[in-house]
C-alpha cells in the first residue's frame, strides 16, 4: 500500500515538473528569456529535491517503516497551514508590487502571477516541512 502511494507521489511529481517545463520552455522560445529560464530552473530544482526525497522515503518503506506516522502527519498539517497563510501574503505582495514587477518583467501577466503564487506556496510548504521535521515536533 505504501509503495503504491510512493509511486503515486512520484507520478504526481513528474507531472508537476513536466507541466512547469512545458510551460517554461515555450516562453523561452517566445523571447521571454527570464521567465523561461527561471521556470525551467524551478522545475529542475523541484525534480532534484522531489526525487531525492522520494528515494529516501522508498528506502524507509523498504526497511518496513510506515510512509508517514503521527509526527509527520502533524508536521504536514502545520506546514500546509503555514503555506496557506504565508501564501496569502505572498499573493498580496505580488499585487502590491505589481508596478515594480511589470517594470522589470514587462510580460508578467495573470498566468505568470498565478504560477508565481502556486510556486511560492509550494516552496513555503517545502521549507516549513523541512524546518519543522528537523525540530522534531510542532509547538502548540
Amino acid at each position: 500500500m505504501d509503495k503504491k502511494r510512493v509511486l503515486l507521489i512520484a507520478i504526481l511529481t513528474l507531472a508537476f515538473v513536466a507541466g512547469i517545463l512545458f510551460w517554461g520552455i515555450p516562453l523561452y522560445f517566445e523571447g521571454r528569456y527570464f521567465e523561461g529560464v527561471s521556470l525551467s530552473a524551478a522545475a529542475l530544482i523541484v525534480a532534484f529535491f522531489g526525487f531525492k526525497m522520494l528515494y529516501a522515503v522508498l528506502k524507509n518503506v523498504n526497511k518496513g517503516y510506515p510512509l508517514e506516522d503521527e509526527r509527520l502527519m502533524r508536521i504536514k498539517t502545520r506546514a500546509a497551514a503555514y503555506a496557506f497563510y504565508i501564501g496569502i501574503y505572498w499573493i498580496l505582495a505580488i499585487m502590491w508590487f505589481e508596478d515594480v514587477i511589470v517594470k522589470y518583467l514587462p510580460n508578467f501577466d495573470i498566468s505568470s502571477a498565478a504560477g508565481a503564487a502556486i510556486m511560492g506556496q509550494a516552496v513555503i510548504f517545502g521549507l516549513a516541512y523541512w524546518i519543522l521535521s528537523s525540530k522534531g515536533d510542532v509547538k502548540n
Partner: protein
C-alpha cells in the same frame, strides 16, 4: 516532556529501529521521543508503554 524510553528500550534489548517497527512509527520519531523533543499522542504513548511492558505513568514524567 522527559521519559524513560531509552532506559527501558535498552533493558528490553531493543534498538531504535526495532521499537519503531514494533509501534509503527519512523525511527526519527523514536529519536525525537527519546530526546524529549516530541510529545506523542495518547495512542502512541500507550503502544510504546505496552511494548516496553510498563505503564504510561511510569514511562513519561508529567
Amino acid at each position: 516532556m522527559q521519559n524513560r524510553i531509552k532506559e527501558l528500550r535498552a533493558k528490553h534489548n531493543l534498538t531504535q529501529e526495532d521499537l519503531a517497527k514494533k509501534v509503527g512509527v519512523r525511527r526519527e520519531t523514536i529519536v525525537f521521543l527519546e530526546q524529549g523533543k516530541y510529545n506523542p499522542s495518547l495512542g502512541l504513548a500507550h503502544t510504546i508503554a505496552k511494548t516496553l511492558k510498563t505503564t504510561i505513568e511510569d514511562l513519561f514524567e508529567f
